[in-house]
Symmetry: C2
Subunit: 371 residues, 2 copies
């Protein structure tokens, strides 16, 4: 006899990117910041007291939320802390979407979204993005027609790295009947000259829920710290009803506050990532490889000759101790998503790709001679 | 317009015990261990590297699970790590109980259970415990009749502290058609002479799911680390489908492993708690106050003259900087749940209670003279 809920039996679950324990691997597969967290985070870590560990943490995480309110120029009531951004994705479903009710998403995007919808037994309406990763004009209409109570959009987009401008986000949100969750996991890497800031939308539009995380921008993927920004009518039910009472531990709360306070350090890592991203973009071009202009900390590189070459580069890099991400889904099978690393890591990546491409060409030439 | 799911609008949410930020308060209200975590935990904390924080944590928390498997003499596949025991309570519902399907519980018990059921839109069947906190003989029959797919039982019982013997747990589990989640949050404080260990049940009965936590026994409430033990058919769907992919951060994983490895230290704190518990029990008796024999780290003390005196002691203690827990629910209104503290804290508690009782008696005498 199975105790699992019937609809879960066919759910396959989310498969995260590989997290090898070996430290000599160059991890360009899960979009971590290549730079460590602020030294102030490490100073705060060693100052955590046994007495803090012994007692329950502040249940509402007010000290961190006060820091967020100041950083984003909003009220504490518009903020909530979560155990990694994934918790917010799940909580938004639990709070706003009855089982059986539709969830909207754009394709391709973060492959966890449809898994969470499946767990909730919710049908999914999938809006395909254009060839240039743009949201189609009819999106809001289609989502409303499907009665989507919640729609996920990731911006900058993953896995392409492209940025949807504020005007388009606002237009989409204002047309939607349901909640629009804007997953801004990669927002910190956007060029500041673009002045891209959708936070003011939360006071204009009660259905806008913003997800942020310290995993990428603040070099703290290991700490599991994300946060939500939104109207009080979206935040309050998650904060007081559906969230686990003590969802973020005292160490994460303490370190997150320090990381958020040291904006200068974080911004310097973002600037470095942007410089390296632009170099990498040009280097790929020189190798004859195309990728969209990215406002994120990764590039989606298209390889010639369909999926065969992308897969060859994937395994060739792995043999060289370099992990990148391959998605075996339609429209992505000839591509690799490559996280921007440090200058040294990127150089080793480029050397590896160049070698693999050269070898492949020479094999193919031999094959055609034989043929 | 409200975006919240309709059934959530009437949910009030769980209200956790007070967690004051002031450090001069004697907290005997939320059952923390009065002793700090193992010194080895603190040593491991300061050795956490920036590089560990930068990268995602081991998604399956295998190193901690291996430690658990060894500790309990079971397989890694029978274990799962959670972000505090509350996460397991929620996950069990998400995994085994369709919305609208019944959840069973005993009354009184942990007040979070019915809140989680409400969030899942599940009706609750409540089995009242006897006056001596015993499970009634017809419990399994009633739970099966109500088609409960999941039943929560806390053992040692909260808030009474009494222990249900293995034979009764086994009998209940073997009769139930649904899953029995045995919440063993307080199990570490049970007298070892009782040889109480239900873990072997998980290999005999596929519907037994055990919850453990490091919050109480290991002095780590601030860290949010719980775990599940159960048959693979219960663990696997939670591990691979319904759990957030990276539900426990790298610091918590690292520190939990150290805490579990230092059994000698943890056991010494449990022994101290038992000694203090027994002293406190006798002291209450000497004050004319009754409480059930507790196998936990708290005592449920009954005050004379109904709820008035219990409330008076609650607020009198608070004025003295001592927090204890009052439950304004039927059957508990004349009682206070008091966590066993250190010898010094318990003495201050007793002094406080004695003073308050004396003052109350003298006020009552004056009142009766006036009347």
């Amino acid at each position: 006899m199975s105790y699992e809920r019937p609809h879960l039996r066919n759910v396959e679950g989310y498969v995260p990117g590989r997290q090898p324990i070996q430290t000599n691997v160059i991890k360009l597969n899960t979009n971590e910041n290549p730079y460590p967290p602020s030294p102030k985070v490490m100073e705060a870590l060693v100052q955590v007291q046994a007495e803090q560990l012994r007692k329950y943490p502040p249940p509402l995480a007010t000290p961190v939320r006060e820091e967020l309110a100041q950083l984003h120029n909003i009220s504490v009531e518009n903020t909530m802390i979560v155990n990694g951004g994934d918790e917010l994705l799940r909580l938004a479903i639990t709070t706003f979407v009855d089982p059986g009710v539709t969830i909207g998403l754009f394709e391709p995007s973060y492959s966890l979204y449809p898994v969470l919808a499946e767990v909730n037994n919710s049908p999914v309406v999938r809006i395909p993005l254009s060839d240039t990763w743009q949201v189609p004009a009819h999106a809001a209409q289609a989502l409303n027609k499907a009665q989507a109570k919640l729609t996920f959009i990731v911006n900058p987009h993953a896995p392409s790295g492209t940025l949807l401008p504020i005007t388009e986000i606002e237009s989409l949100a204002s047309q939607l009947n349901g909640v629009l969750l804007i997953d801004e996991a990669y927002i910190d890497f956007v060029d500041p000259q673009l002045s891209h800031n959708v936070v003011p939308l939360i006071t204009k539009l009660p259905n806008v829920l913003i997800l942020r995380t310290l995993s990428k921008g603040y070099g703290l993927a290991g700490l599991r710290l994300g946060y939500a920004l939104g109207s009080e009518q979206l935040i309050l039910p998650m904060l007081s009803k559906t969230r686990d009472s003590y969802n973020v531990d005292v160490v994460a709360q303490t370190l997150a506050k320090q990381a958020l306070m040291d904006q200068a350090y974080a911004a310097s890592t973002w600037e470095n990532v942007r410089k390296e991203r632009n170099k990498l973009y040009n280097n790929f071009k020189q190798l004859g490889l195309s990728c969209p202009e990215s406002q994120s900390n990764f590039l989606l590189v298209t390889f010639p000759q369909g999926s065969a070459m992308a897969r060859r580069v994937l395994s060739g890099l792995e043999q060289r101790g370099i992990l990148v991400r391959y998605f075996d889904t339609q429209g992505l099978q000839d591509k690799l998503r490559i996280t921007v690393g440090t200058a040294e890591q990127n150089q080793r990546l480029l050397n590896g790709i160049e070698e693999i491409l050269r070898e492949s060409l020479s094999i193919m030439r031999k094959d055609s001679v034989r043929a």
